[in-house]
Structure formats: C-alpha cells, structure tokens
C-alpha cells in the first residue's frame, strides 16, 4: 500500500515537474534572445520560438511569400555557448537593422535559429535540417573549426552557402563557405612578427586540443623557424579542462627567465589558465601572452585583473575609433543592454549578414549560384574598417594588436596601415606552399598551384 501511494505521489510530482519545465520553456521564449520579442513582428509569447532551447521549432516557418528565410546555426548550450551566443546576438541585430531599412529585395529576412549544442555531429544534423526542412537561402554559423569541418560535407553535398564569422587556422577554401573572420596571415602571422620584434624570440605554445590550435601551432612553428625564433615547448588541454598546474610547471622549466607564451586556448580553459598563471607568479612583464581567442567578451568573463598587460590579436576591437564602429556599438548596446561589449567575431558576423545582403541585391535573386558570384568583390565600410570580399571567399581586413587595459577594453598598440589580403593556404607550411585559391575562375577553384 505504502509503495503504491508513493508511486502515485511520484506521478503527481512528475507531472508538476513536467508542467514547470514546459512553463520554463515558454517563459525563456519571451526572453531577449528571441528574434521576435523586440522586432516588429506580431508574436504571441507562447508561440515564440525559444532560442535557448534546443528543441525549439520555429512556428512561422510555414509562412512563405514575403519573407526570406536564413539560418543561424551556433551553440547556444554547451561549452562553446560562452562565445557563440553573442555572435547570434550580432547576427540578429544586423538582420533587424536590414528589416527596419526595408529588408532585402523588398522582403523581410526571417532568421531561423538552431542550437548546435557544442556538439559537432549536432551541427551537421541541424545544418541538414535548416537546408532540407526550412529551405533557408543561406546559413550564418559555426565557431570552432571542428564544427565547420563537421558541416562542410553537408554544404558541399547540397551546394549550399555558409557564412563563417570566426578567425581560423586556414588550410581550407571551399566554394560553399564565405569566411568573414581572419585567415592566419591576418591574425596569427602579424602577431608573431610583432612579438619577435618587440617581446622575445623564445615561444611556448599552448592550446586547446582540437584542429584550430594544432594547425595554428604548426604554422607558428614553421614561421618561427623561418624568422629566427625558437619554439621551446607546446602543450594542449582538452576543451573544458581547468587543471593547468602541470602546464605551468612545464612553462617554468622551458622558460626559466621569461619568454613569450602564445595562447590558442578556447573556452573555459582560458579562465583557469590566466587565474592560475597569476597565482604561480608568471606576470605579463616576464611572460607576455598573446591570445587569439580572447576578445572583449572573454575579458569580461575572466576578469580584467587577471589579464591586464597581456595581448590579443584581432581585426577589430571595440575601441576602434570610426563612425561605423560607433554606430555598431551604440545599436548593439541599445538592443542588448549598456553593459554588453562587442568583439571581433561579432563584428565579422555582423558584416557577414550585410555582405550577403549586398550580394543578394546585386544578384537580384536569392539563387545560390548567382549570389555566390555576386558576393565576390563586394566592399563594405565595416566597423573595423573597409573590407573587401576577395575571390578566394575570404575578406581583406585590417590587423590589430591590443593590450588589455584595466577596464577590460583593449589599448590598440599596433594596426596595419591598410587592409591585409587573405591567404587561406599557408605559405610557411611545406605541404601548402605555393597553393592558392580563386573561385572567380572555375578552372582554378579552391586549390591550385601558382606559378611563382
């Protein structure tokens, strides 16, 4: 009897819990992260797609006609959510601005947000869903190279289009992807040059254990060898690992008198690395660290006290002084709150939407092949300076190096005088030396030998 009673009670509480979770979902749907809340679309709160829940299904998907559907595919949960969430915010801001200005080809853009959940197979699955089921005309998405590599076969198979907004290791040039983040020669190489000139010749390389840091470090090692620097050690931490004591011991052994640390860690590990580095007495005056994954957003999460005096290399900083940047920052703060910051991948995602819009307007259709052709050569006065979409599907942009200040912003200590052209195939690595990429000419394609 007692057992039956408790089971019945369990069913009761179970249904209560179910009710609460349904309710949680409905409520989180009316949060600021959904496209419709602050937009001009009439949306009933209960039917608002909850962007934060992976199971959210867009209700308005069936309404075709005067809207153009685009996909947004980023991790809204899992270890990468820390970085990718704000990129989604930037993309939605750009879409909203375009819609407010009359849309594209006279139609409203309708974003369909999917959660890749920091899980690479999920990315491929969701990309397939966006293309097949939602019939989107393009997708903005991915952060980690691992997720990009996971969706690449889907995009090649469907001959679809992905706009990838993050700096990456290069060594790829797909006809189906537009890369609006930096290629290595627009971030890593100039920063290594700058370190060699200003900070020292001995480098310790540390990164997360996946494709970007490993490839990036191969490039750095080759570059150091060519330019007279020295790699004294390297180590990789799994994504999410926060125990860095062994690595700090190694750094001390390899660089007893100080030297440069080149950091390609991603996500949570950065926090642990900088906190424990300060505890172990590795200060930026002796051990300056150059990071390629730490921007304003991450500085805020780690705490500027731990990062002050360290460096980061990007194409864009929030402190860039230009009218386009002021407009971008103001619009972002107005939409998401005054304490929010903008960073490089967000800027790259923001301009990706605008470049796509310009390409669609030039092509006068959303047909994939026509847009792909029209996108080449598009220029835009971006927040980070003038950018040009080149024939290799990467964009030319300015390179900057910033030093973390007390308030969490960057003091720009170096900037290239003009936009640097992207080189996707790395010229320091033997296997890809002399390779190039040109999609304006079908005979050349993604990987051809230059005659030089």
């Amino acid at each position: 009897m007692a057992k039956r009673y408790s089971r019945r009670k369990f069913i009761l509480y179970g249904s209560a819990a179910l009710g609460t979770s349904v309710f949680l979902k409905a409520c989180s749907g009316s949060g600021p992260d959904t496209p419709q809340t602050t937009g001009n679309a009439p949306a009933t709160p209960a039917a608002t797609p909850a962007a934060a829940t992976p199971t959210a299904s867009p209700v308005a998907a069936a309404s075709g006609g005067d809207t153009i559907k685009v996909g947004i595919l980023h991790s809204l949960s899992g270890t990468m959510a820390i970085s990718e969430k704000s990129v989604v915010d930037a993309e939605q801001l750009a879409i909203e601005e375009i819609n407010a200005a009359g849309g594209v080809l006279g139609k409203r853009i309708e974003p369909i947000v999917e959660d890749g959940a920091s899980d690479w197979p999920t990315f491929a699955e969701k990309a397939r869903k966006l293309i097949d089921q939602d019939k989107v005309v393009t997708i903005f998405g991915c952060w980690t190279s691992a997720s990009r590599k996971a969706v690449l076969p889907v995009f090649e198979e469907k001959k679809h289009m992905l706009w990838y907004p993050v700096q990456y290791e290069g060594q790829e040039c797909s006809n189906n992807i537009f890369y609006t983040g930096a290629a290595p020669n627009q971030q890593i190489e100039p920063s290594v040059d700058w370190l060699l000139q200003n900070k020292g010749k001995e480098f310790f390389l540390i990164g997360s254990d996946y494709v970007f840091p490993r490839t990036a470090n191969t490039i750095i090692k080759a570059q150091l060898e060519a330019k007279g620097g020295k790699t004294v050690g390297e180590d990789y931490l799994q994504l999410g690992n926060t125990e860095v004591t062994p690595i700090i011991t190694k750094i001390k052994q390899a660089l007893p008198n100080g030297g440069v640390i080149y950091n390609t860690l991603n996500g949570d590990s950065n926090v642990a690395f900088f906190k424990q580095m300060q505890g172990a007495g590795l200060t930026p005056d002796k051990y300056p660290t150059m990071s390629v994954s730490i921007a304003e957003e991450e500085v805020k999460a780690i705490g500027p006290e731990y990062l002050k005096g360290h460096y980061a290399a990007w194409n864009y900083f929030m402190t860039v002084d230009s009218p386009a940047n002021k407009k971008f920052v103001d619009a972002f703060k107005a939409k998401y709150g005054a304490d929010r910051v903008t960073n490089d991948p967000m800027e790259a995602a923001y301009i990706a939407v605008y470049l796509w819009k310009q390409a669609v307007e030039k092509a006068k259709t959303t047909d994939l092949e026509a847009v792909r052709k029209a996108a080449l050569g598009q220029t835009l006065e971006a927040p980070g300076g003038l950018v040009t979409m080149e024939n290799n599907h990467h964009i030319a942009k300015v390179v900057r190096i910033g030093e973390v200040k007390e308030d969490g912003q960057f003091n720009i200590v170096f900037a290239t005088p003009k936009a640097v052209s992207p080189i996707p195939w790395n010229q320091f690595v033997a296997e890809t030396k002399g390779l190039s990429c040109d999609w304006s000419d079908p005979a050349k394609g993604g990987k051809f030998k230059t005659t030089t």
Partner: protein
C-alpha cells in the same frame, strides 16, 4: 629536494581540488548510494552564489571586498544544501533503491539547473513562484477537505493547467510591459567573472618557486571540511544516526531512527559540501553554466577508486590521482627517469595534459581490476548492500 617539494605541493594542490569536489559525493554516493549526476551542478550553484556575494561586496567598497569569500562560503553551503534538500524531497526519495532511475532523474535535474542559470530572469522566477503558490497552495487548502483522496485526481487535472495558464499569462504580460528590465537574463550563457580578493591572488615566493595563495587556501579549506565532517559524523547525535542508517536501514528504522529525515539531512550535507567546493573552484577556474560538468566525472572517479563508503579512501584516492596526474602531465616523471632511456621516452610521450589523462585512466582501470572495491573497501555485514 626542490623537485621533491615541487611534486609534493603541486600533487597536493591538484589533489585538494579533486578532494573538495568529491567530498560531498563521498557522502551522497558513498554513504547513501545515490548516483547523483547533478553533483556538478550543485557545485555550479555554489560558484554562482560566490559571484552574487562578490558583486554585493564590491558595491559595499574595497575594504569589504577583501572579506567576501568568508561570507560566500557559508552562503554557498546553504544555497547548495537547500537545492539538494528540494532535490531529495522532490525526486530522489521516490527513487531509493532504483539506481538506474536515479541516474536518469539526476541527469535531467543537472540539465534543468544548467538551463536555469542560463535563462534565469525576473519573469522566470516570478512565474515559477506564482505557479508554486497557486498549485501547491490550492493543494494545501483542499487537502483539509475530508474527501480529498477521492477528488485528488480531479484537483490535479484542473489546477495544473489552470495555475500554469495564469502563471504564463502573467509572465508574458510582465515581459511585454517592462521589456528588457525584467526579461534580461541575470547571468546569461556567458561565463561570469569571479575575482579573488587581492590577498588570494599572487603567491608566496620560496626561492625560485611560488606557492599560489589560492591553492594554499583551498588546501586549508579542504582540511577544515574534512575535520568538520569527521566531527559531525563521529561526535554528533545526527552523525551517529547517519552511520546507523548507512549500516542497516531497516534495523535503524525499527529502533526509532527517522530514516527519511536522516536521508534528507545526509543529502543536504553532501550538497552543501558541493556548494563549498563550487566556491573554492571559482578561485581557480571559470564560473559558467558548464562549470560543474568539468568536475563530475573526476569526482566519481575519486570516490570509486577510494572505495565507496569510506571517507579516508576518498582522501587517499584524491591525493594519489592528483599526484599521478601532475607527475605524468608535467613531464617530471620523464625527467626523473632520464637515466633509464626507454622508460623516459615512454613517459615523455605521455607528458602532455591530454595524454596524461589517458595514462591516469588506464592506471585506474588496471587498479580496479586488482581491487574492484577500491583502496579501502567497505568491510562487515550490510543488509541492503
């Protein structure tokens, strides 16, 4: 000598982090046998409590800020213990003796908690409170009716959608009237910044070596926690009851020990310790919705290796795993074995963080083959083992 000291201190400091994270689980899993996959999320709640306390103290001024950690620790304990109590009363107590269901239920709870800190905002909290008030309030009032058992199902079917509907309607009304002020997430999906007070940053220089203050603090805190648990379990009346229920539940029940209450207290104690651990790890690592996930596997590993049901096993296992991890991962072992060439080469191969973990796991599996019950297996007769 310096090398030995280095190894001892660093092994101990990694071990202390593992230990403080595993202590709560040693009680919940070790003593009660509940596989609590939400343990990491209870740590996360502790870490977020630290974040909130830090922000309050930051607003009070710099003098106060230096002391916030001492207020954050007990508060983190209370918050996590409270969450653990709700979890035990609300779900786990119906699932004792059904490990598979417990596992799934606690995993679900861990996902709910993660999503909760991501999307927690005023609207959500007000909505949940309103729903609980309406639904459980109605149940409480109606319970006094003599024919409650007969109408119970009807009440649930009517009240559940009704209170849900009212709460959602009120919620969306709030969201549309006050917009960003109430719908802005408190924490968001981003990690939050927990900064240690100044006296916990930096380290104590000894020769060429520097002992990080944060590590010393965690080692001290771990010792305090162990002593506290020992005294509680061995010297207090409730500790005696907990030990009695652990050894023989039905006998204790016969002798008049309120086992349900003991279960709740034990679980709350374990959860509270998770909260303290969350506060401690915020000094070293990141504080975000995923903070707990990074630790939960390690904590189970420590408890299993140490031997389920024995606190001393957990202590030994944590320090052993910490030291092994450090020796292999930092390349110190390879350095010590330089005279023996093949062995040194072998350990140099494993001297990266990822490979060290592989090696440690392999060692643990090998060890569990020899001693399946852990370092200190539970001895004696147990009825419901």
């Amino acid at each position: 000598m310096a090398l030995l000291f280095d190894v001892l201190f660093n092994g101990l400091s990694i071990g202390a982090v593992l230990l403080i994270a595993a202590l709560g689980l040693a009680i919940v899993f070790g003593l009660m046998g509940v596989i609590n996959l939400a343990h990491g999320e209870l740590m996360m709640l502790g870490a977020y409590t630290t974040f909130i306390v830090q922000n309050i103290f930051k607003a009070l001024g710099s003098g106060w800020f230096e002391t916030y950690i001492f207020f954050a620790l007990p508060l983190a304990f209370l918050v996590a213990a409270g969450a653990g109590l709700i979890l035990e009363r609300g779900a786990i107590r119906f699932l004792y003796g059904r490990p598979l269901e417990t596992l799934l239920a606690t995993w679900g709870v861990s996902l709910i908690l993660q999503q909760f800190v991501r999307s927690a905002n005023w609207v959500l909290i007000i909505g949940i409170v309103l729903f609980c008030l309406l639904f459980f309030g109605a149940m409480w009032i109606l319970r006094r009716r003599p024919d409650f058992d007969r109408i119970r199902n009807w009440v649930v079917t009517i009240m559940l959608p009704l209170s849900l509907g009212i709460a959602i309607a009120f919620c969306s009304f709030l969201a549309q009237t006050y917009k960003l002020a109430v719908t802005k997430p408190w924490f968001g999906a981003q990690n939050v910044d927990v900064t240690a007070p100044k006296w916990l940053r930096g380290g104590l220089p000894i020769g060429t070596f520097q002992l990080p203050y944060a590590r010393l603090f965690i080692i001290g805190l771990t010792i305090v926690c162990i002593v506290g648990i020992y005294l509680f379990l061995q010297r207090s009346a409730w500790g005696l009851r907990i030990r009695a229920v652990t050894q023989n539940r039905s006998m204790s029940s016969c002798l008049g020990i309120p086992t349900a209450k003991v279960d709740a207290i034990t679980f709350a104690l374990g959860s509270g310790l998770a909260g303290v651990a969350g506060c401690a790890i915020s000094l070293l690592g990141s504080v975000g919705p995923n903070t707990g996930q990074n630790y939960v596997v390690d904590t189970f590993m420590v408890v299993v290796v140490g031997g389920v049901g024995k606190l001393v096993g957990t202590i030994v296992a944590a320090i052993a795993i910490g030291t092994a991890n450090y020796l292999i991962g930092s390349g110190t072992l390879a350095l010590m074995l330089t005279p023996i060439k093949p062995l040194a080469d072998f350990f140099t191969f494993f001297a990266t963080s990822s490979m060290a973990k592989v090696m440690v796991f392999a060692l643990i599996i090998a060890f569990l083959q020899v001693r399946p019950a852990g370092i200190f297996p539970q001895k004696g007769r147990t009825v419901d083992a």
